[in-house]
């Protein structure tokens, strides 16, 4: 079932772009080329669109499966080790003051979640970066919906106490 025949790509793109983009921001924190990773994800999805089958998975599930693979590849690559923490985040479209606060908050999240297991970091990125509901997160991660909910609650409480 081809994507071109069944889906409005413009709508899909408009919906998925901020989700994928923020997923990478939350998942990796500042200092990573989030735009590049986002572009890579969409390119892979676009190239493989003929293989997408709606009967097997929702489009979000499929896109995030690709995004998760991109994260894995990125973390494995040498480039990921060269953390360019001084890199300006090109996504800032606010005043320098707001940008500084925003950026520092993201860095703060990255610091606080540094000790979390990778799976928990991923849950946070899917929930708050990609803004997915628990049902979709469960589908993507293979966890039960209840498990996703309780785990997220525990993580958020912990983060909030440290915030």
């Amino acid at each position: 079932m081809a994507l071109d025949q069944d889906l409005d790509w413009n709508a899909v793109y408009a919906d998925q772009l901020p989700r994928i983009y923020n997923f990478f921001r939350f998942r990796l924190g500042p200092g990573h080329d989030v735009e590049e990773l986002t572009a890579r994800t969409f390119e892979k999805a676009w190239r493989a669109r003929a293989q997408y089958r709606r009967d097997l998975a929702g489009f979000s599930t499929w896109m995030f499966a690709i995004a998760r693979n991109v994260v894995t590849d990125h973390l494995r690559s040498d480039a990921a080790r060269i953390r360019t923490s001084t890199l300006a985040d090109p996504g800032e479209a606010m005043t320098p003051e707001d940008a500084a606060v925003h950026s520092s908050d993201l860095a703060r999240l990255a610091t606080l979640s540094a000790e979390l297991p990778e799976r928990h970091k991923e849950l946070i990125a899917l929930k708050y970066g990609a803004a997915l509901n628990n049902r979709l997160i469960a589908e993507i991660t293979g966890l039960s919906e209840t498990n996703v909910g309780t785990t997220l609650q525990r993580i958020v409480e912990k983060l909030r106490s440290l915030w």
């Binding site: 790509w9 793109y13 772009l17 901020p18 983009y21 923020n22 921001r25 939350f26 080329d33 735009e35 590049e36 986002t38 572009a39 890579r40 969409f42 390119e43 892979k44 676009w46 190239r47 493989a48 003929a50 293989q51 690559s77 040498d78 480039a79 060269i82 360019t84 890199l87 090109p90 996504g91 479209a93 925003h102 908050d105 993201l106 999240l109 946070i124 929930k127 708050y128 970066g129 803004a131 609650q153 958020v156 409480e157 983060l159 909030r160 915030w163």
Partner: protein, 284 residues
């Protein structure tokens, strides 16, 4: 659950980035014209022939005898990166009983030229390069066995020709990689136009890999390091080539926005793609 402190960290991607990516994704697939591919293939085969045939090689070297090699000094004195560029790339997929020919030998005597991409894939801030093909490359690599004499060529001759063609392609790719690596490590600022041009070349050259491996030479005795897994796992082989093409695309994008950090990362990504493929599909 009070989680507003997390929700407010979300942010919209830059409008410019969103528009540029959409534009790239919407562009129709740009496959080189058939005639252009044949010409490029012919050029590669000619290069391979020149490398293998002693008289042709002698004549070829004569062309360069009076001109000094102007590989940047920092590159000439720097050891090659092990297993990534240089001889490893140039010899990709093939065995050469002779001492490996360093691609730098074929670098022109003039400084790195500012040349356009081989085909019409302009690279600029307004029109990012995009030489992606619509079909998955893995689909293209459907092995064609050599069954009998064709055009007076015995199966063995056909296989030898196929190997020569592959070697030629990888030598040209190695030449591009050496240029990229040299430019990256030179003391002078990176020339983004050269980067963009070479990214376009890599996109084009990588798109030829499936085609030059279409002829299945496993059954014949050839002078090759190409692993037979290539024809057993065409889809995976294709995905490895996809990775290289995408990495070259990243380089084109980074060069178009004049981003040196991203350019360096993209070159690393290309090197990783090369190594990943060699690890599986090139016999030692």
């Amino acid at each position: 659950m009070n989680d507003q402190f997390l929700h407010r960290l979300r942010r919209e991607p830059r409008a410019e980035f969103a528009a540029r990516l959409k534009w790239q994704l919407d562009r129709p697939a740009q496959t080189p014209p058939r005639a252009g591919r044949w010409l490029l293939g012919l050029a590669i085969f000619g290069t391979a022939f020149a490398l293998v045939s002693p008289p042709a090689r002698h004549a070829f070297h004569g062309l360069f005898a009076s001109t000094p090699n102007t590989v940047p000094a920092s590159d000439a004195t720097r050891p090659e990166s092990p297993g990534v560029v240089g001889s490893s790339v140039t010899a990709a997929g093939q065995t050469n009983p002779r001492p490996p020919v360093r691609p730098a030998q074929f670098m022109p005597a003039t400084p790195l030229p500012r040349v356009p991409a081989l085909v019409n894939t302009p690279v600029s801030a307004d029109s990012p390069a995009d030489a992606k093909t619509n079909a998955s490359v893995g689909d293209i690599v459907a092995p064609v066995p050599i069954t009998g004499t064709v055009g007076g060529l015995t199966p063995q001759m056909q296989a030898d020709r196929a190997v020569l063609l592959r070697q030629g392609l990888f030598r040209v790719m190695g030449w591009v990689m050496v240029r990229l690596n040299a430019a990256q490590h030179a003391d002078a600022p990176v020339d983004m136009k050269v980067m963009a041009a070479d990214a376009g070349r890599l996109q084009q050259l990588s798109s030829l890999i499936p085609e030059v491996f279409q002829q299945d030479t496993r059954a014949l005795d050839t002078n090759t390091r190409a692993s037979s897994i290539i024809w057993n796992e065409p889809a995976d082989f294709g995905s490895k080539i996809d990775d290289l093409t995408l990495a070259a695309d990243s380089l084109a994008r980074a060069a178009a926005r004049n981003d040196e950090v991203a350019t360096g990362k993209a070159i690393s990504r290309i090197e990783i793609a090369c190594t990943a493929c060699h690890h599986i599909y090139r016999s030692n």
